[in-house]
């Protein structure tokens, strides 16, 4: 266990950013956000960022390749570059789990080389949640916010921060950081004990996902979708703040002197999602709404050994313009259903 005084955190940030690109969650006018560290930037006091850290591995838009046209010749230009090493500091346990959800999509055959490139070069320093909020329900998906995963786990205990390397990458990161000193484990135990105490009081601590990940057709045909989706605006807020949503669209942009092929996040809530020659296969908002939650709660776990594609971070709970969210869906769908 290594430690540093909270007041000396800037020294650690400076040391880390001297070696690698460093991202820390910091406050902006629009809430906390993972930003490239610059001298003087402070770690946020917010529990979580508005946008999840997924865009550091899977950015909202990214250029895939360029085309140049000359006469009848088309030249394809590979724009990929080897990513430099970077560190993401202060990732919450739920968001760490979200990387596993993304990995299963992007790192299974055919491997997404754009994602893999970033994923391999990123080191994750997670941070335990001292003050979870009412919108948290990570325990529903067996995530322990007092024992976050990642390459290095960190804990804030009083006016000190403790670090525990969990992987080889993590040990390597902490190696030779002279600003860190040896610390005992007792304060971290105390910190975890406090977290568990609050966790047991969280209003959503009893929410269970046991009923999901099976009975596909029963859920699909449920008559509750009408009521659940009636107020849905069809915006993409839930999708874009979600750490596990990974759908994207690929488009060509005509720059006037060539073509840029890029991909960008897409949302199943949009009317032109998976649009084909005949239109969107899901014509109504109810069908689009159902798709999002069926994917998270039923399709994904059925295809991925029971791993849900929700991590209980609570972002959609606090950001949905009309306050419809996965917790309400789970409770309503689970109502009156046998185990």
């Amino acid at each position: 266990m290594l430690k540093i005084k909270l007041s000396e955190l800037p020294i650690l940030f400076d040391a880390l950013s001297a070696k690698n690109k460093l991202y820390i969650p910091s406050d902006t006018k629009g809430g906390a956000r993972f930003l490239p560290y610059e001298n003087g930037m402070k770690l946020t006091k917010e529990l979580n960022t508005v946008r999840s850290p997924k865009d550091l591995f899977f950015p909202q838009t990214e250029n895939l390749m360029d085309f140049k046209l000359e006469g009848k010749k088309i030249e394809v230009i590979d724009t990929r570059e080897e990513c430099e090493d970077f560190v993401i500091f202060g990732v919450r346990a739920c968001d760490v789990r979200s990387f596993e959800v993304l990995d299963r999509v992007f790192l299974s055959e055919p491997i997404d080389t754009y994602y893999k490139n970033r994923r391999e070069h990123g080191v994750i320093v997670s941070l335990a949640c001292n003050r979870p909020e009412e919108t948290c329900f990570c325990s529903t998906f067996d995530i322990d916010c007092a024992n976050p995963e990642g390459d290095v786990a960190s804990y804030i205990c009083g006016d000190e921060m403790y670090f525990e390397p969990l992987t080889e990458k993590g040990s390597e990161l902490l190696l030779g950081l002279s600003c860190l000193s040896e610390g005992s484990e007792a304060p971290v135990y105390e910190c975890k004990r406090n977290i568990y105490e609050i966790k047991s009081k969280l209003p959503l601590s009893t929410l269970s996902a046991e009923k999901f990940g099976k009975d596909m057709m029963e859920y699909f045909n449920s008559d509750k979708w009408d009521e659940l989706s009636e107020a849905c605006l069809g915006c993409g807020t839930c999708t874009f703040v979600c750490p596990t949503c990974q759908c994207y669209d690929i488009k060509d942009f005509d720059t006037g002197n060539g073509i840029k092929r890029f991909r960008c996040w897409d949302s199943c809530m949009y009317s032109d999602f998976t649009k084909m020659a005949h239109g969107n296969p899901r014509v109504s908002q109810k069908e689009r709404f159902r798709q999002r939650f069926m994917h998270k709660l039923v399709y994904y776990p059925m295809n991925n050994d029971g791993l849900f594609s929700c991590v209980g971070c609570g972002r959609c709970l606090s950001k949905c313009p009309i306050s419809m969210n996965i917790v309400k869906v789970m409770k309503k769908l689970g109502e009156g259903k046998d185990e």
Binding site: F253, T255, G256, N257, K260
Partner: protein, 146 residues
């Protein structure tokens, strides 16, 4: 004496209404009045055909200035088109200004079919203004840059 090669030459898009201003540009041509070759004319049926998107798209694709020319108020071929255009463009230009985009890059002028002289002088003046402003940086799309 050789001109300096890297001298900034702005790209100007001029939306001209079919009935007055386009004919005005024609007249400027037949009268051999000089106006800069950087002005690219796009003919539209009426000045009110110009949608804010046209203007933004022109900037996106590399224009440094956009000018809209229509019939004088009261002379619109469709009676009232330019009155609507006037309100729309006033509000749009004001919004661009509000967002901090140089207001001098946009302009609306009334040029009749008989005003070849005015067309040429307007264009000369506009090109001069935009040249002084330099390249459009605030409303550019980096992807469209060569």
């Amino acid at each position: 004496m050789q001109m300096v090669n890297n001298e900034f030459k702005p790209k100007i898009v001029a939306f001209c209404c079919n009935w007055c201003s386009y004919a005005g540009a024609d007249l400027a041509g037949t009268n051999r009045l000089q106006y800069p070759a950087e002005v690219k004319i796009i003919r539209v049926p009426c000045s009110c055909r110009v949608n804010p998107m046209f203007i933004l798209r022109a900037f996106q694709r590399g224009a440094d200035g956009v000018i809209i020319c229509g019939c004088h108020p009261g002379d619109c071929h469709y009676t009232t088109g330019n009155y609507y255009a006037r309100r729309r463009m006033t509000l749009l230009f004001s919004m661009l200004d509000f967002l901090g985009i140089e207001k001098e890059r946009t302009r609306l002028e009334w040029v009749s079919a008989a005003e070849g002289q005015k067309f040429a002088s307007t264009m000369n003046d506009f090109v001069k203004t935009v040249t002084e402003l330099g390249e459009n940086k605030r409303l550019e799309d980096l992807r469209c840059k060569k």
